[in-house]
């Protein structure tokens, strides 16, 4: 009986010492972290098709319009980014392709911009932002001088770049 009590006391002491030994252990680790410059822009519409085929007698043919959208994520500082747009080649004489890009919160839209082969600002003063489904409006117009044009393809490149 006495032995049993001694064993129990020893066992308790061992448990206590073990716990104390674990509690007294400590260590440190260093966390290195960084956030890279992130600049993502995505045009939601891979393709838009325009066909001008109507006019009122006496006036130029009716323009065709289309609505699209884009998504943007950038962690740029305030007013440090802009969106530019350019075509892979100039439009034929007598035709025009315009693009009006709504600005993300804090940015400034340039309104309807007639696209050329040279990059032009469509949105400026972009802050750090992550927004999806922002509106884009396209318009294709042709005067009668452009004549009949078979289906032709152009590529619009939209770039998120430094202001």
């Amino acid at each position: 009986m006495f032995m049993n009590k001694k064993i129990a006391v020893l066992a308790s002491l061992l448990l206590l010492f073990t716990g104390t030994a674990f509690a007294a252990g400590n260590d440190t680790t260093t966390i290195n972290y960084s956030v890279a410059a992130i600049n993502e822009v995505n045009i939601d519409d891979d393709m838009e098709t325009f066909r001008i085929s109507t006019a009122t007698a006496g006036v130029q043919p009716n323009a065709e319009v289309a609505a699209g959208s884009y998504d943007i994520t950038t962690n740029g500082a305030s007013n440090t980014k802009k969106l530019t747009a350019a075509l892979n080649g100039a439009m034929p004489a007598g035709t025009a392709l315009t693009m009006a890009v709504t600005a993300p919160t804090g940015g400034t839209s340039a309104g309807a911009v007639t696209l050329t082969a040279l990059p032009q600002d469509v949105v400026t003063a972009i802050d750090g932002v992550a927004e999806a489904d922002i509106a884009i409006s396209y318009s294709f117009s042709a005067t009668v001088a452009a004549g009949v044009i078979e289906e032709t393809e152009k590529t619009i490149m939209v770039t998120l770049t430094e202001s």
């Binding site: 995505n42 045009i43 838009e48 325009f50 009668v144 032709t152 619009i156």
Partner: protein, 166 residues
Amino acid sequence: MVDNYKSILKGIIATILILSPSVIQAASNDTSTINYSVAAINELNLDGGPYDLTVDTATAGQEPELVTYEGTYDITTNCGTNAKKITAQLNSDMPDDTFLWFDMAPPTGAASVWMDPITSASQNIITGIDATAQANISFIIDLEAWATAGVIESASKTLTVTLTDS
């Protein structure tokens, strides 16, 4: 041996961490394809109508005076140079000794054709039409009725004006 694997693993992780920021930055643009076309457009419109013409005066000893209606028309076409013309015809011929004359001013670049009175046969009115979009170009319609035509109670004709290939 285990240490070697650890070193290799650390190397791989470090490489991935170094590459990741440049991969993210590379996606800062996007493209979209625009397909466009312009169909052949040929629109012609005579403004107003119906046009009322009544011959009701004459000088004694002469045929009744012709009467004139002055109107305008609109045209839009994206054709090639000299590729279109305008023709006119009536749904049936006029009664004996009555005549309708139809004269249209040409749009820029085209030419009017001096013509006989219009009949049920199609006749050229304007030729050599280029691509154009013009409104309110003048035209006139003359009604001539000789005395031998007699009195004609209210009657009507349909004038069809067509923009067609030259």
